[in-house]
């Protein structure tokens, strides 16, 4: 008896509003929304690699322009690092499991978790692939400027680069602070956003698996 009553209450709960579709416009609306969302995703994917794309011509030009051999090598290695970063972002974007919400609830949770763990891994290791390599290369770049001293260089860039020791020290400290900030931002995103979401997914998965 109670069971039937509950089902009646439940079925009646949709009777507070009448839902009407304007079928002639629905498909246009849905297509417009999909295009809007895809545009946002394309922009986001592009934004992720734009930093590395900017680095390519700048350090390519520096390698061409600056005559000091170690500085040149550091510039070229920075270009290689930027290419690696683009490759890494692209492969993460490709690996991301495309959402398929018509999958069973349990499998959908598993897919969500896989994507979240991928993001977790990417952000949590940012120090080793995004921060330290260019930091070391930038230090090599800066500290090798002007060496060997027998190389004469009077290019227009010379006024914009830290050529003396005090400027080099300043640059080294500023870059270290900036990089520490990037690491902190990413660790914070992992701690404040990703960890709670992963924990939530795991909690629901445990609830589903349990028989208690």
């Amino acid at each position: 008896m109670l069971e039937k009553e509950l089902k009646d209450i439940w079925k009646g709960s949709s009777e507070i509003e009448r839902i009407k579709f304007d079928l002639s416009r629905l498909m246009i609306d849905l297509n417009a929304r999909m295009n809007r969302i895809e545009k946002v995703i394309r922009k986001r994917d592009f934004r992720e690699i734009v930093g590395a794309l900017i680095v390519l011509p700048i350090f390519g030009y520096l390698a061409y322009e600056i005559p000091y051999p170690i500085t040149r090598i550091a510039s070229l290695l920075t270009v290689v690092w930027a290419l690696y970063v683009i490759y890494k972002f692209r492969s993460v974007q490709k690996r991301r499991i495309r959402e398929n919400l018509s999958l069973p609830f349990k499998q959908q949770l598993e897919n969500q978790k896989t994507n979240m763990l991928d993001q977790h891994q990417l952000l949590n290791t940012v120090l080793y692939w995004y921060v330290l390599p260019p930091y070391i290369l930038n230090l090599v770049f800066v500290w090798s400027l002007g060496y060997p001293s027998n190389i004469e260089w009077s290019g227009s860039l010379i006024n914009h680069l830290p050529m003396d020791t005090s400027n080099k020290i300043g640059f080294t400290i500023a870059l270290a602070v900036f990089n520490a900030f990037i690491v902190w931002l990413n660790k914070r995103a992992v701690k404040k956003t990703l960890n709670p979401l992963i924990a939530d997914i795991e909690r629901v998965q445990q609830q589903l698996d349990s028989t208690d």
Partner: protein
């Protein structure tokens, strides 16, 4: 003989009330049931070309509705009402206005469902929708036996909670 596949519009029209009931349960301010409903419609439309009909349109839609609503509840996906609004879907209050007693009883049921954990909530919703255990298993990805064991316990919890409230 296999029946011809329905159009998306037909599927939507036939199942709109089911979707709305689920959205009403999962909507937590500032997200409105209407926002969730539109989100479900959008994802159903995107998945429709891949829907082959083996599992039945009801099962297919329940999967989408539950996945969308749970993602919104767990904040895995941000539901932005400005972004999801589809002008071609209109919600009009019924002219007679909501029956107060009925609404109170619904609120009592809603509170009891809310007191369950997320996994049990999804199962109890499917149970109230009168899905057989086999279909509940298909929607959730659990085995039929597992669903039966869980439902026995969840029904007891639900009945214990609602009986004093309904008087």
């Amino acid at each position: 003989m296999q029946q011809p596949k329905k159009t998306f519009e037909q599927v939507l029209e036939d199942n709109k009330n089911k979707i709305y009931r689920i959205c009403r349960i999962y909507a937590i301010a500032p997200v409105e049931p209407q926002d969730l409903f539109q989100e479900v419609v959008y994802h159903a439309w995107k998945s429709f070309p891949g829907f082959k009909g083996q599992s039945g349109e009801g099962t297919w839609l329940y999967k989408i509705a539950l996945n969308v609503c749970l993602r919104a509840k767990m904040k895995l996906e941000k539901v932005d009402s400005k972004n999801v609004r589809l002008e071609s879907i209109q919600f009009m209050p019924v002219q007679s206005g909501p029956d107060e007693v009925r609404e109170e009883r619904y609120q009592a049921l809603r509170d009891c469902i809310a007191s369950l954990n997320e996994s049990d909530q999804s199962l109890v919703i499917l149970y109230l929708e009168e899905l057989p255990y086999k279909e509940i298993a298909q929607v959730t990805g659990l085995t039929e036996n597992h669903v039966a064991v869980k439902m026995k316990r969840i029904r007891k919890m639900l009945f214990d909670c609602i009986t004093p409230k309904l008087g």
